[in-house]
């Protein structure tokens, strides 16, 4: 269970980016952090990962303040997938995935057969096992993102069966075209069905979040506008407040998932 309680954070003493944000990522939960650009989504994710320390409020993992958890112990429980990954050198796919094993190894220890087995299991889980020996830089954007997800899985796994860790994904589809977005969504859904992991994802894409996440946190100007089960949270009124856009919220006749159709920019009358 990952919890943020009333966290406040600002970079270098400037205006706070997060102004009292609370959220819960339950075990096996799938939480979407939704908001316009500049609303604080990425910063919130960094705070959840322990990469930035809130000036007030706390982030708790299983009841312990993440600031008090040694960084390697924290890394064994929680992994982050960034928007994009650019390598400085020409590593192969398996080498990138094995880097996820860093927090499991002692200072001069090298990866053993167990680590290799875990890395391969993670590649298999993300459908990238056949890319094992390819140079990471030669992969497509979608393949790269799946390999980085595999690296994150290898990081939170104590054995070849991934343990109950947490994956944080920061706008994972921002640099992907539509086919890869759908592919990544399918991958995350299947990982969640098969593995005891919790996922939190930041995105500004309403339909991506609506189709994928069980719970949503709507973030606006560093504050929570609304949070709860996806079906309850996504209403035309809230979308207007969040994006300043008129939208229709319906249910798709085939998939049965919520579907948001943006209509136009909000006007003075519609806001009132």
């Amino acid at each position: 269970m990952l919890q943020a309680a009333d966290i406040v954070f600002g970079y270098h003493g400037s205006r706070p980016v997060l102004r009292g944000v609370s959220l819960d990522v339950p075990p096996n939960g799938f939480v979407g952090i939704l908001g316009p650009n500049g609303s604080g989504k990425t910063t919130l994710l960094r705070a959840l990962a322990g990469a930035v320390r809130p000036s007030s409020g706390r982030v708790m993992l299983d009841g312990r303040d993440v600031a008090a958890i040694p960084r390697q112990a924290l890394a064994r429980r929680m992994a982050v997938v960034p928007q994009e990954t650019h390598l400085a050198f020409d590593y192969s796919v398996i080498e990138v995935v094995l880097m996820g094993r860093y927090p499991h190894l002692a200072t001069f220890e090298i990866e053993g057969p167990q680590d290799l087995a875990i890395a391969r299991a993670a590649l298999a889980a993300t459908g990238t096992l056949e890319l094992e020996d390819r140079a990471f830089d030669t992969l497509s954007g979608g393949e790269k993102q799946r390999v980085i997800v595999a690296s994150a899985l290898a990081q939170i796994s104590a054995s070849a069966v991934p343990a109950n860790g947490i994956l944080l994904l920061d706008e994972p589809t921002a640099a992907l075209d539509l086919a890869y977005q759908l592919e990544l969504a399918a991958l995350l859904r299947s990982l969640q069905d098969r593995l005891p992991i919790a996922i939190a994802i930041s995105t500004h894409d309403l339909n991506f979040a609506a189709g994928l996440c069980r719970a949503l946190v709507l973030l606006k100007d560093g504050q929570v506008l609304a949070s709860g089960a996806t079906d309850d949270v996504l209403t035309p009124d809230r979308i207007r407040l969040l994006y300043d856009v008129e939208a229709e919220v319906t249910r798709h006749p085939v998939t049965g998932r919520l579907m948001i159709v943006p209509l136009r920019r909000a006007t003075a009358e519609s806001r009132a």
Binding site: A51, A75, V80, L87, A88, F89, D90, E95, M99, Y102
Partner: protein, 335 residues
Amino acid sequence: MTASLGRRFAMTTVGFGVLAAAAVVTAPLVGSTHISLRRAFSTAIPFSENPDAQIFFIARLPRTLAGALVGSMLASAGVVFQGLLRNPLATPFTLGVSAGAALGAMLAITFGWSFTVAGMGAAPAASFIGSVGAVAIVYALARARHRGLSTNVLLLAGVTMNAFFSALILFVQYFADFSQTYRILHWLMGDLDISSYEPVITALPFVLVSLAVFAWLARPLNLLSLGIESAGTRGLNVATAQRAAFLSASLATGAAVSVGGPIGFIGIVVPHLVRLIVGPDHRLVLPASALFGAAFLIGCDVAARTVMSPVELPVGVITALVGGPFFLWLLVRKR
């Protein structure tokens, strides 16, 4: 992924180790006077009556060992700077270390300082002090606005310090007479004209400290290749790793430059050649570069001593002649 990392490590260190050892043993045999390896190591002849042994151990071996030390430090420092800055084109001299060293050496030569510190003459000692000064300034700037180290500020501060020190060097040179200017030019080209063990012994403690830190840095440098944020979320203490990398690589560079002057291109040619052979994992690249750097510089120095014999070229001329075209090839090479 055929062999395990442990086996690849053993193969790499043994392979490049044999190459370095062969260079150390054969380089002293080459020179204007022909000597025999067997007679040099013969115990039947007393040392005082054995000219082969005297030439081997007194005239040529110190220079060879100095070449090994300088080559191995510049090559491995190059690897560390490239990893730290996440830029394969960084060199040990990118961040101002060599310019600070050059200014120190220049001041010592121009103003005829004649002190010795721990067995080092005035020019090497002043160059080491100059490199430490440059490093301290760049480091302070890069930390001024960040909790960790900002690699962008490091890079900009380093490049600016290089330019600023170069301006100071020109200013100081104005006060030098003709023979001093010749010595300065010679020093700036990088030269291993060494005929005692003292420079090597003085530099050795710095070298050993740097190598120990490099060994620890190998895996952190791999993680830094993913990006600073990603390295941090995988459990690496990024600020500590960056500081250790910057300070140890600067120390190694300062020690190397105080012995041989700013010998160019080793720090970029060797790491790239090594990566072509062993791949990008720093746990292989670092030891292989340290060993191959030694062999490479010894080889260049043999060439410097022999190609225009009896005239000896500064070894920096040879490394630049070999390294320049290689560097350009790297830039245009198809990936």
